[in-house]
Subunit: 213 residues, 2 copies
């Protein structure tokens, strides 16, 4: 098994934190996305989609998409449980994870990838060039704000997002929160007291401090 990884981008970082929470030791090759190390012919032979993370299984099967990788590792290593124990818990974890992906992560992606400093024609991940659309910078910021307002409302009624303990939904959302603050330069804790309390609790988890940069 081998993981292709980069700690500075949110999707691979989610899988890195998941592995840290599970206490797993997986052979890893870091490809620096900022230096374009994932956009080479060599890596395209492994994964033509040119995204990270990628988990290559011992039989050569290539698993992309962070949810699929984390779910695979959960099935192979059930403890500690991060995807829910019964069908209802699992549904709530998948639900909050998809909300975080569609309402949080996509906003962060719009904000980051359409900015002049990101570089042209990479407004979407992958091998096909997509031109930047400057109007998406502002829309991305609005999506980020809207998402963390929703998380704040949810955390005013529950200690964690999906169920009453830490799950993959919290893990993903925490990575997005950290990344959103870095990308926007804004303090998202400001005037969101439940979010701030939740983030502080997560920041103190041993698995989180172990992967801190």
């Amino acid at each position: 098994m081998k993981l292709y990884y980069f700690p500075g981008a949110p999707s691979p970082r989610k899988v890195g934190l998941f592995i840290s929470e599970k206490g797993l030791d997986i052979p890893t090759e870091i490809l620096n996305i900022r230096a374009g190390e994932h956009r080479t012919k060599k890596f395209a032979a492994t994964h033509p989609g040119l995204t990270l993370p990628v988990l290559v299984l011992d039989d050569g099967a290539c698993i992309t998409e962070s949810l699929a990788i984390a779910h695979y590792l959960e099935q192979e290593n059930p403890e500690p449980n991060l995807f829910g124990l019964d069908s209802k818990e699992q549904a709530l974890v998948l639900m909050w994870h998809d909300i975080a992906m569609f309402e949080g992560y996509l906003g962060i992606q719009e904000r980051l990838r359409n900015s002049p400093e990101f570089g042209e024609a990479r407004a979407l991940p992958g091998p096909v060039p997509f031109e930047q659309i400057p109007a998406l910078i502002k829309r991305g910021e609005k999506r980020i704000t809207t998402f963390f307002d929703k998380v704040e409302r949810r955390l005013s009624e529950s200690s964690f997002l999906a169920i009453e303990r830490y799950t993959y939904a919290d893990l993903a959302t925490y990575i997005y929160l950290e990344f959103a603050q870095r990308v926007t330069g804004k303090n998202l804790y400001h005037e969101r007291e439940h979010l701030a309390d939740w983030a502080e609790r997560i920041s103190k988890r041993p698995a989180v401090t172990a992967i801190a940069d």
Copy 2:
């Protein structure tokens, strides 16, 4: 248990086809999205996110997001299996489903929701208004084409998307294909022979003909 549903939008339609494949009988209320029946105070009390589909469990828990709903129904009704039998199969199904969501569905959404005929300030789903960005119409079409080119390449090496039998990944992609053709007015089978063959096989499934409009 109760399902809030609309057959004319791809996310609820995926769950409708999933229920048809499973042979389940679930009490259902149709809310006509085109007539705005999901944007009412009454429905907001059930689901403030104002999206469909929503599955309300007998204990009142509200499951949104089509993947979460389908996964719940799969856990409660394991046969026929549509999410994979072991950890590797499940990872490949989730992987191709997420590829279809991010590379297919989001393109369809951009193409549809930024068009003048869709109506203003609903460029993204949910209760918060987002203005249309006309440049996303063309980008959405390019994403759709890019996605179905990728599906064509995959189907040139495999009879189905994730594993060598029909799964939720095929189900979702088939719904997106049908919807993309309706939204763009383009024949996506043209010059994609493996896609055409795959779609013809799926179109003849009893569960598909049972939900045809």
